[in-house]
């Protein structure tokens, strides 16, 4: 069964979640994973990826930025030519924009945010969270190819192996659709790891009053733990944090070793994005906050006192 894994990268760096998608593909019976890499001047990424499977590379100036129409068309061509029975990618705003479009072009069938797979009577069944993760559905997908976005946290990245072949794909820009022009992209440079990749994530909620406090308290704790920062929707709405830090049903999925929910009440939409963390620490001044119900460790305290004290006590001694 040939499985095409669509690689994701940003500003010249491979997204680690791509390897979890390869891990998903490898674990299936009779799987032959192949990787599709699209972009411009991505040779070094192909070198990295070939340790995980054969790589098809569409490298062209016209593919420098990921426009859904072009990328979906390249996926369509490669999936058709390789007769892929599955096309998969780690779930992200990149894949959620592009893969459904490719699925429609391929006349396939699609599952979003898949967290597990089972085989029953030779048929693959997929598990996926619905209703903000309060329910897990088992679905059969009828038709081919089966196009999936995968929750990276649910699948292990494989160990790199012997380098496999790299196949360049000829790209003729005049044969590609030109419906979407990417005018501008934020190129955010943060010294902190992204919530989807960090080992420790410190998230703040409405209990944090403003951007300075967020940076000092939430950012400060993240820094002593070498972690990433996240937030609830409430802080995005209040303009305290930017949207790309949001964890939850409609934000990012964080599954670190330790997740700190600080001044976050624990709405289902937020829990949806942090449930898979190994250990959850909740700091909230309201002893009845629902977040405590999903905590391994809960501290009832005012975050404005507890967190600065914690930062100070975690500070490496000089």
């Amino acid at each position: 069964m040939r499985i095409l894994v669509v690689a994701e990268h940003d500003q010249g760096a491979l997204k680690g979640v791509t390897l979890s998608a390869v891990g998903f593909a490898r674990a299936l019976k009779d799987a032959e994973p192949e990787i599709l890499l699209m972009g411009h001047q991505v040779g070094s990424l192909a070198e990295q990826l070939r340790r995980y499977g054969p790589v098809w590379v569409a490298d062209h100036e016209a593919l420098r930025l990921a426009a859904a129409d072009r990328y979906a068309e390249i996926i369509r061509r490669v999936a058709a030519e390789r007769q892929a029975s599955m096309v998969v990618a780690a779930a992200s705003t990149f894949s959620k924009d592009i893969l459904p479009r490719a699925a429609a072009l391929l006349d396939g069938t699609m599952g979003t945010d898949v967290v597990g797979v089972q085989e029953e009577n030779g048929q693959l069944l997929f598990l996926r969270p619905v209703n903000a993760g309060s329910v897990v559905a088992t679905v059969a997908l009828m038709g081919e190819p089966k196009v999936l976005t995968l929750r990276a946290s649910a699948f292990k990245s494989p160990e790199p192996g012997e380098p496999q072949e790299v196949h360049p794909i000829a790209v003729d820009p005049t044969s590609l659709p030109n419906l979407i022009e990417v005018v501008r992209r934020d190129s955010k440079t943060s010294s902190r790891p992204d919530v989807t990749e960090a080992r420790v994530v410190v998230s703040g909620g409405r209990g944090v009053k403003n951007a300075e406090d967020f940076e000092r308290i939430i950012g400060g704790l993240a820094d002593v733990l070498h972690g990433g920062v996240g937030c609830s929707r409430a802080l995005v709405d209040a303009g305290v944090t930017s949207n790309d830090l949001q964890v939850g049903q409609t934000g990012k999925i964080a599954a670190p070793d330790v997740y700190f929910a600080v001044g976050i009440s624990g709405a289902v939409q937020h829990l949806a994005g942090m449930k898979d963390s190994k250990v959850v620490v909740v700091i909230n001044k309201d002893p009845d906050a629902p977040a405590f119900e999903v905590a391994d460790y809960g501290l009832v305290a005012d975050l404005y006192q507890a967190v600065p004290e914690l930062i100070q006590k975690l500070q490496p001694s000089p």
Partner: protein
Amino acid sequence: MKILVTVKRVPDPDQKIKLTADGRQLDLSGLPCVVNPFDAIAVEEALRIRERSSEAGEIVVLSIGAAECEEQLRTALAMGADRGIRVDTPAAADPWNVAAIVQAVVAREQPGLVLMGKQAVDDDSNQVGQFLAARLNWPQATFASKIEFVDGHAEVNRETDSGIERVRIALPAVITTDLRLNEPRYVSLPGIVRARKKPLEVLSLEALGVALQPRVKLLGVTIPTSSRAGTRLRDVDDLVQRLKELKVI
């Protein structure tokens, strides 16, 4: 410009979901239902687009499903949309079929823009808008947090994992909404009264020439439970101790 907005009826996301006694299905009986929050944002955006443009344009709202979806269409009409269409389906249609139905309605209505939510908060699929755009061979701009019209094109800010991306697309197009696009207005009492008189057409699949072909079959549901201990800590020193045990520090 005529704008078509899709409106899905979904269980109120603030209510707790239960399974039926046999544990095989969701028990939706008695659950209050609402307009999918992202679709309410789409309706609001259509109204604002019309309010700030000089040309008049019709706003048509579309819901796919059984008769009770008309409640959500009436809500959208009460917000200010002009006309409703319900496409009657015997059972809930999966995103593939929803896209096929919306495509057929687009062919009838010829809108200049289709606005829809980025995801339905019940199935959390995040597929219909992209499926539709591909089927129509139209441009798409998903996860919109700002929509502007410049020289007959739409310029859209999209919320991505790495920040805002701005795209420029020709019309007609499909745009899907993110939470930050706007805050939907409340329906007013006069709005509700006016909505009762607004036209609401019911179309059959036959009339649209669409045959359902399920691509996703729901086989079972489970409700995950949290198995975390919920140990209450005494103070910050206690927390420091635990973090040491966890080897975080």
